[in-house]
């Protein structure tokens, strides 16, 4: 019971945060709203017994990625401007209506998944996950580090001042 309410509450918080981001003009405030969304999502993960994912979400997303964004916003000269953040009305309308139609369609798809979900807390999910991670999916796990290495090299090479 509490579970259900918590999920709904955190879900509502995430949606509200995204809405807040939509209407923000300043990028810094948008970043803070995003932070709220990410942490709310982490909360939902815990309630869905995906504990490892929740913690990783906080560390990677809310921690590393958001820090990157905030650093970028604060250091780039043109990023923090206060001028109008949003595009001409017609295009805004087009974008919003597109998103609305998309939502309608997606909801219709979602309605085909009518089942009951048992949200009882599961204690062994982390063990099971790590058994898979160090078992059949170990290779893919190691590949992830390669991926991140590539990202680092790319980012550093792209942003250097002098080759």
């Amino acid at each position: 019971m509490m579970h259900k309410i918590a999920i709904y509450a955190l879900g509502g918080l995430a949606a509200a945060g995204t809405l807040a981001m939509l209407s923000q003009t300043e990028p810094l405030r948008a970043a803070l709203a995003m932070l709220a969304v990410l942490i709310a999502t982490a909360g939902i993960y815990i309630l869905l017994s995906a504990q490892l994912i929740a913690f990783l979400q906080v560390i990677i997303y809310a921690g590393a990625i958001m820090s990157l964004f905030i650093i970028a916003i604060n250091t780039l000269p043109f990023a923090a401007g206060r001028e109008k953040q949003q595009r001409p009305t017609f295009l805004r309308l087009a974008g919003l209506s597109g998103a609305a139609i998309l939502l309608a369609e997606l909801i219709q798809i979602a309605l085909t998944f009518r089942t009951r979900l048992d949200i009882a807390f599961s204690q062994e999910s982390v063990q099971r996950l790590s058994a898979l991670l160090f078992g059949p999916y170990a290779f893919q796990f190691e590949l992830l580090s390669l991926l991140i290495l590539a990202g680092i090299v790319g980012a550093v090479a792209a942003a250097k001042r002098k080759i």
């Binding site: 595009r87 295009l91 087009a94 974008g95 597109g98 998103a99 139609i101 998309l102 369609e105 997606l106 219709q108 798809i109």
Partner: protein, 630 residues
């Protein structure tokens, strides 16, 4: 089929083909004049020998079953329609093959002397050999499609040889005229062939060799095309092609112009062989014309009309070759006359004798031209009987032959034709034929008198031609002397065993007398009017008529105005201007390019470079995709 694998037949056509390839390919560099000329002549001699061997084999077969065939390979095979490259040797082909190869050989030898020193010597002999090759295919073909291959081939060689000295534009124009006029006739011929094969195929007959055609032609009897009887329509269409090839009205206009080619070419192609192809075709397709008496009437009337027209125009020409050209047109009219009455054997008989004496006359004219260093106007000749004795004697033989004086060749064959025309029952046609005979005698006598008799009109000292030229002429003269008598005894029976003539009826004897008297009258008036004073007086009296006749009744000019000019305008404005430049070029080709460019210009506007615009498009696409999935 009787004798379906007689292998000697293909050896008749192979030597001329080899001669063409050798002379054309390596002649100029390796063979030179002597080698090339004798190679060409030897090739034809080989063809003649093989023809003779086949002929003797044919004689060993009983009359009525005389047929030798050979199928070389399957040429066209499309569903049930199948055409073989097959050769056929029956009495008709035998006569044609022997005449073609024999006369060709003599003319080849003559040409070695005539064309000496010409810088296109080897090219000449290769073309001549190619011509004989195609002509042999024409006469030996076993189905009308293969015959048409030969038909077209000789037209091509005629074009090549008429315009042989192509540097002079007049010669090239004459060649073009010949080819195009032939083409017009060939269009009719092709349509006739297509109708024939289509109508027969509709009845279930798919083979097109002459045997099958003759057997099944009755299936067409009673069928109609556009309201007219099918055999009549096909017969008329094929005959239209024959008028083009054999220079009859209305497609005879190319033959006088064709005299621009070397004289041996005129002798071979435009007297003895190619122009007779139409008569051969009629004889071959006699089974078709037996069902189409109306078509035969047209053939008969055309033959008579052309004969008379040719003779009238020839009577006033001043160029020696042009006289002979119109004479050829006239004599071929006689052959068509015979065919038009159903007497195909008589027509072929006249074809044979005509080949002899006309080739002789042409070669003699060539000898005169050679001796007079290129002069062709008769009014500038005269008195050559003393300087060119041998040529004079031989020309005299030809003169007697063509005038129809017995016992030379022309008398027998022309008389036979006139007999058949008389027996056909329409008197005016016979009168016209008789008048033509008289005119023939007249103009040939005139030619002889102006060229050889009387006083000299020019300063050139004419020299007699070398042996290489005179010996072939002598051979032809011998044939002109004996051919008629021999032919009437053996040829007719050989060609058509059914038409054996037993006795000469008194009716026939009377007709013969009339024609001989007409011929003698023609000769006499020829001598009479050759006296300059008399001819000048007559010319002054009938000057307008003379003008019209001398200008060939202005037929060329009428054609140019009524046919050629509108066609040229049609080709220029409609076909070129509208269709080619406008439609195909402008609309389809350039239009396609313009369309692509414009489309690109429009589509380019999609690439705004705006990332969010792209994202919007993504979203739209995603929406549609999901909608479709749902």
């Amino acid at each position: 089929m009787t004798g379906n694998f007689y292998p000697l037949l293909k050896w008749i056509i192979l030597p001329p083909l080899a001669g063409f390839v050798l002379n054309g390919g390596i002649g100029k560099r390796f063979l030179g004049e002597k080698g090339g000329g004798w190679l060409g002549a030897a090739a034809i001699l080989l063809a003649f020998i093989f023809s003779f061997l086949c002929f003797s084999d044919l004689l060993n077969l009983p009359a009525g079953h005389r047929l030798l065939r050979d199928t070389l390979f399957n040429w066209i095979s499309a569903g049930s329609f199948s055409i073989d490259f097959a050769l056929r040797f029956d009495p008709l082909s035998a006569v044609m093959a022997l005449v073609v190869t024999g006369v060709s050989f003599l003319i080849h030898v003559y040409s070695i002397g005539y064309m000496r020193g010409d810088k296109g010597f080897n090219r000449y002999f290769s073309y001549l050999n190619l011509f004989v090759f195609f002509m042999l295919i024409l006469v030996l073909a076993d189905n009308p499609i293969l015959m048409f291959v030969g038909w077209e081939g000789v037209g091509l060689c005629s074009y090549l040889l008429i315009g042989f000295w192509y540097e002079d534009e007049k010669n090239a124009a004459a060649g073009k005229k010949a080819f195009i006029t032939n083409r017009v006739g060939d269009a009719g011929f092709l349509i006739g062939l297509m109708l024939l094969s289509y109508l027969l195929a509709r009845q279930g007959v798919s083979g097109l060799d002459f045997e099958t055609l003759a057997l099944n032609i009755n299936l067409l009897d009673g069928g109609t095309v556009l309201g007219f009887g099918a055999p009549t329509v096909i017969g008329l269409l094929l005959f239209f092609g024959a008028t083009g090839k054999s220079a009859q009205f209305p497609l005879y206009i190319w033959l006088p112009d064709a005299m621009a080619g070397p004289t041996p070419v005129s002798a071979l192609i435009h007297a003895a062989t190619m122009v007779t192809a139409g008569v051969y075709m009629l004889a071959r397709m006699s089974f078709l014309y037996a069902l189409a008496p109306r078509a035969l009437e047209v053939v008969l009337v055309t033959g008579v009309f052309t004969a008379l027209l040719g003779a009238v125009i020839a009577a006033l020409q001043s160029d020696i070759k042009k006289v002979l050209a119109y004479s050829t047109i006239s004599q071929i009219g006689y052959m068509f006359m015979a065919a038009g009455t159903g007497a195909y054997a008589a027509g072929i008989f006249h074809l044979t004798t005509h080949a002899f004496f006309k080739a002789l006359l042409f070669l003699a004219a060539g000898s005169v031209i050679h001796g007079m260093a290129g002069e062709q106007e008769m009014f500038r000749m005269g008195g050559l009987s003393k300087e060119m004795r041998f040529t004079f004697a031989l020309t005299a033989v030809g003169w007697l032959a063509i005038s129809g004086i017995p016992p030379l060749a022309g008398f027998y064959s022309k008389d036979l034709v006139l007999e058949h025309v008389y027996a056909h029952g329409v008197p005016v046609l016979w009168y016209a034929g008789l008048a033509t005979a008289g005119l023939t005698a007249y103009y040939v006598t005139r030619l002889l008198a102006l060229t050889f008799l009387g006083g000299k009109n020019s300063e050139t000292h004419a020299h007699e031609s070398p042996l290489l030229m005179t010996i072939p002429m002598a051979a032809l003269a011998a044939l002109a002397l004996t051919g008629g008598w021999l032919g009437s005894k053996y040829l007719l029976a050989f060609l058509d065993p059914a038409s054996a003539r037993a006795e000469i009826s008194p009716e026939a004897f009377r007709l013969t007398m009339i024609s001989v008297i007409t011929a003698l009258a023609g000769v006499a008036s020829g001598f009479f009017f050759a006296i300059p004073a008399i001819s000048d007086a007559l010319a002054r009296r009938l000057s307008i008529a003379r003008e019209v006749v001398y200008n060939k009744f202005y037929v060329d000019e009428i054609y140019a105005f009524a046919v050629i000019r509108p066609l040229k305008r049609l080709a220029d404005k409609v076909c070129f201007g509208f269709l080619d430049a406008g439609l195909i070029d402008g609309l389809l080709v350039n239009g396609a390019a313009r369309l692509t460019y414009r489309t690109g210009a429009v589509l380019r506007n999609l690439q705004t470079g705006n990332a969010q615009g792209y994202a919007l498009t993504f979203t739209g696409g995603l929406i549609l995709l999901l909608y479709w999935i749902m």
